[in-house]
Amino acid sequence: MLIMSSICAICFLGGWTIPQFITNTLPFLLKVPGILWFLVKVYAFMFFYYWVRATLPRYRYDQLMAIGWKLLIPLALVNILITGLVKIMV
């Protein structure tokens, strides 16, 4: 869970950095060590983990498969398509 959350934090939330627009408005936040931001993000992901597990203790396997194959993969493919189209058009 810790490793997965760390990877998620690095891949999707920018790891040990914080967004530019925050540092522009509040420059003193640059002095805060990066490990702190990273830990905040990791713990946020871990909270999300627990949250989902508390809400859906046993997601039925066929439902899980249905979500994966019928929903998330088509959505990802459509996402790739739209991104590609946007890249070509713009």
Binding site: W51, V52, A54, T55, L56, L71, L75
Partner: protein, 185 residues
């Protein structure tokens, strides 16, 4: 075919998000559970726990006369009563024993007793490592009464929960006794 609304519902996991919102809202409410060994729930009225033989306030001994009705009525046959006769041809209860491990706590013994001599206390935490601890002799049953039914609790017990609701369990008038033989002596 799904409608567009349903389609959006599936895409954005609306149902799951509502579940998540519910669990998150519960995060800020008080817990519904009790911290059991520390916080105990009081036993409900008429709770059927560990057995106790009623100690008569006047004589300081058990009320039981050894009629064996409870033993006869007991569905799991876990009451053993041994009686003997003294010089006055009076029945003496030598041993009154209950195998608590076999008891199903139906309360029939209390119902059956014409003298209100046995009761089920509100005590239910008596786990132990040996079987001997669950074999209740007469002395232990009487001490159970002293421990768990002392005072008001024991006085109100039969009046509150058991039928016929009685103030006092005296000897019934038609009760068979050895009185004639005693008088003849």
């Amino acid at each position: 075919m799904k409608t567009a609304k349903e389609f959006l519902k599936t895409i954005f996991f609306i149902e799951i998000l509502r579940g998540l919102a519910l669990t998150l809202s519960r995060l800020f409410t008080h817990a519904v559970t009790r911290r059991y060994p520390k916080v105990k729930r009081p036993a409900q009225p008429g709770f059927r726990g560990l057995h106790a033989l009623v100690r008569d306030r006047d004589t300081g001994k058990e009320k039981c006369v050894g009629c064996c009705l409870c033993a006869a009525y007991c569905p799991s046959q876990c009451i053993y009563i041994y009686t003997s006769e003294d010089e006055d041809h009076k029945k003496i209860v030598d041993r009154y024993e209950i195998e608590v491990l076999r008891c199903i706590f139906c309360g029939f013994c209390v119902e059956a007793c014409p003298f209100g001599a046995i009761s089920l206390t509100e005590h239910y935490e008596y786990s132990d490592y040996s079987r001997d601890a669950f074999y209740m002799t007469k002395e232990r049953l009487l001490s159970n009464w002293d421990k768990y039914m002392a005072g008001q609790k024991g006085e109100g017990y039969f009046r509150k929960f058991w039928r016929p609701m009685s103030e006092d369990f005296g000897t019934p008038e038609k009760q068979a006794t050895w009185r004639k033989i005693q008088n003849a002596k």
